[in-house]
Subunit: 455 residues, 2 copies
């Protein structure tokens, strides 16, 4: 095995230049006081009413191993922007701070911190870009995937998005985040290897067309994968394809094998799936499942099921894999406290909640989520506190949940979210309030800021 | 330096499982004939009328180094899906095929192959997922970036998207592809290091708020970066911020230095930039540029300029970095020839042009692009042939262009595309026809297929 740098060393330069220029200024001024940054989402994209927290293990692994390589420093020197004294300092920089975070798989809402980092300002600043990037992507996809799973009403959903995710890192993270949010597995083999996610696959149209006859392609596949064959039947014609699949299923049955399913990948899936189901019934193949793929996301799943589609499982691709209807979050990592004083910016239309915080969740008598309150971290408040200390002195303080555990945690939390907030279109706003202590501090800091800098 | 696996070995398993199950079937059948796959985009997303080809160097680097590691094979064995004989075969698999491709930075249109791969079918199939993923992302972003550069009418545009790109790989590729398409540079330091792209940065609101007074933050930055200071002036109030920047500019001038610019990041940029320009004029600071950021893409650039915005350069972030209005392409890699015979699928609504092809471009008397013709590769046809042989026997056959050369090639090609096709909204359709030979073959194969498989 070749070794490679750990994440935090491979990607320390995957940052915005301004993180380094600001760091140089802090260094010049000897500013090393503790800064707290809150990472949160400012608003819901269209049709979103909750978020699913994801990406924490990667974020912590990055923080634990953060540091610049010799090679990085040589490059920085070559830019001519930085003084030698600062570059020497960078050589020794590690992340030594504290992190509070929502557990992987948590349900959360806008304005609630997903993560709060407290560290010497240079450290906290240098890791900003990567933290936003990593947590944003997985949270974006876990949220979209949760909606797809919900729309499928118990039918298995599989990630088929790899070819059209935005790059290779996204391909892996989409497989992971969608599995976290309840997908049954992925087509992505490397994700299977790295994360232990179940992998699934059928066949491509090219496979069919590379044989002289469709049925030959079916037979060869069934011979090679007698326990896991799902036949793609739309290459030439769905009904003709279904009949050939039925014939192969009969041949398999004669060998004591079972055809697992057929796959539809184009056309009006609701109508076609009914026709194909009829063919399967005609041939007495009740145990053969119908897998549908091709442009699916939560909206198309809901639409096909509402139209009476006879689909047993869904392969969800591109639109989930890039979160096509909401391909980014208005996500921010904002300084909320520096050197012991709460801080904020006043820029138009963007409010940031000051200081270190905690989110408290309130449940009704049946254990369903009722409302949340964002409070100052030290403030005493009712409700279940959600943010946990996960890192202290730059080291992870508690064993991280496995992906499997986080997946189960998500499932149990999602069950406690009332149905109305899971609506695919225009969900109502889940109530999130501010504690008296936070409200008062927020008002005081805003006023002081405005007087000092503008007035 | 730690070594790491080359791309094609690190990411050989970054593929869909079905590539491996199909490969097992081909292996079982001894099917090793040459297959040709065409990679092309089926349709234009809303408001797109051209594409910018990008990602070829990465694709070729992957193909040249493709192969499974021991570790990969151990994982595949652990899935229980594959026979030992097939896994032994996989151990030796390399990519030995031929690739025709559009040069990096080419302008192309729907249905035109961006790439055609001819190789023994297993090899050509195993590389599909990565090729689509890699070429799709960079082409998506280069296309979006070209539109942004065009909208800016000669003003510099800089990539600030890293924090919200879909993962770390996308962060790097967005910086590269946007630079290819005419951006002046990026905030992404690692992209600067890896691709030699100029890097830019200003400062964050957190930097301002971590000082007791805004002007102190300005002064410290100017002291540390006397040649490259752009001050972020919207943290508390743009006009108050502009006046403080003017004061710092005067202090710099007294030291023989020059403030490079101020940055606006929120609010009504057209109106605010006019106010800020007035402040700069009042203080006689004609040489201080105004950089605008915050939610920019080609549409917002055009809108701010149309509203009289006094902006000298644009920092373009999220919406370009995820191609927010069109976050994926309907891009396909389709088998068009196998074992010497042209092939196609007939699935509803998806037409694939059969066989090995060439694209011929026709220009008018002034050298402007007039129309393209897609022909069979061997067919004699007028016009400039666009696809070049870039790989033979699995080796790159000609020195690849540098990023700088590709950037210049894009610029010169883009200049030859008539203005009407560059419209940001509803551009007209650039004419792309089929040659007589391709038309005739297409009709013949479709008819044969339908008769054989459906009729």
């Amino acid at each position: 095995m070749l070794r490679e740098y750990p994440l935090g060393k491979r990607l320390a330069l995957l940052t915005d230049l301004y993180q380094l220029t600001m760091a140089a200024c802090y260094f010049d001024q000897g500013m090393a006081e503790e800064a707290t940054f809150s990472l949160f989402i400012r608003k819901y994209p269209a049709n979103r009413g909750y978020f699913v927290a994801a990406g924490l293990p990667e974020a912590l692994s990055y923080l634990e191993t953060f540091g610049f390589t010799e090679d990085d420093l040589t490059y920085l020197e070559s830019t001519g922007l930085f003084q030698g004294r600062f570059l020497d300092f960078l050589k020794g920089v590690r992340f030594t701070g504290e992190v509070y975070a929502l557990p992987e798989g948590s349900i959360f809402f806008k304005d609630e911190p997903l993560l709060e980092v407290s560290a010497p300002v240079i450290e906290a600043q240098l890791v900003e870009t990567f933290l936003i990037n990593a947590l944003s992507l997985q949270t974006l996809i876990a949220t979209k995937a949760a909606r797809s799973v919900h729309a499928a009403q118990g039918r298995p959903v599989i990630d088929f998005s790899l070819r059209r995710t935005q790059g290779s890192d996204a391909g892996l993270k989409v497989a992971r985040a969608s599995y976290l949010a309840g997908f049954m597995g992925t087509s992505n083999v490397l994700a299977g290897k790295l994360y232990g996610i179940p992998i699934f696959g059928t066949m491509a149209h090219s496979y069919i067309t590379s044989f002289a006859h469709e049925i030959d392609a079916f037979r060869v596949f069934a011979k090679n994968f007698p326990r896991t064959t799902t036949l793609l039947i739309d290459t030439y014609d769905n009904v003709a394809g279904a009949k050939k699949a039925a014939q192969v299923a009969a041949e398999m049955a004669a060998r004591g094998e079972r055809l697992r399913g057929v796959r539809l990948d184009s056309g009006d899936i609701a109508a076609i799936s009914q026709e194909v189901r009829q063919v399967l019934r005609d041939y007495d193949l009740a145990s053969v499942g119908i897998l549908a793929s091709g442009g699916f996301d939560e909206f198309k799943i809901a639409q096909v099921l509402a139209a009476g589609g006879e689909v047993d499982s869904f392969a969800v691709g591109t639109k989930m894999g890039v979160s096509a209807d909401a391909p980014y979050f208005d996500i921010a990592y904002k300084l909320v406290r520096y050197g012991g004083r709460p801080v904020m910016k006043l820029s138009t239309g963007k409010v940031t909640l000051v200081d270190k915080k905690q989110v408290h969740r309130h449940y009704d008598a049946e254990g369903r989520m009722e409302h949340d309150v964002i409070a100052l971290r030290g403030e005493s408040a009712a409700g279940r506190p959600l943010l946990q200390e996960v890192m202290r002195g730059g080291r992870v303080v508690r064993p991280l949940s496995t992906l499997q555990e986080s997946r189960e945690y998500f499932r149990s939390e999602f069950d406690r979210l009332p149905e109305r907030y899971k609506a695919l279109n225009d969900p109502p706003l889940y109530p999130v309030g501010l504690s008296p202590g936070l409200k008062a501090l927020q008002a005081r800091v805003a006023q002081e800021c405005a007087q000092r800098e503008v007035g």
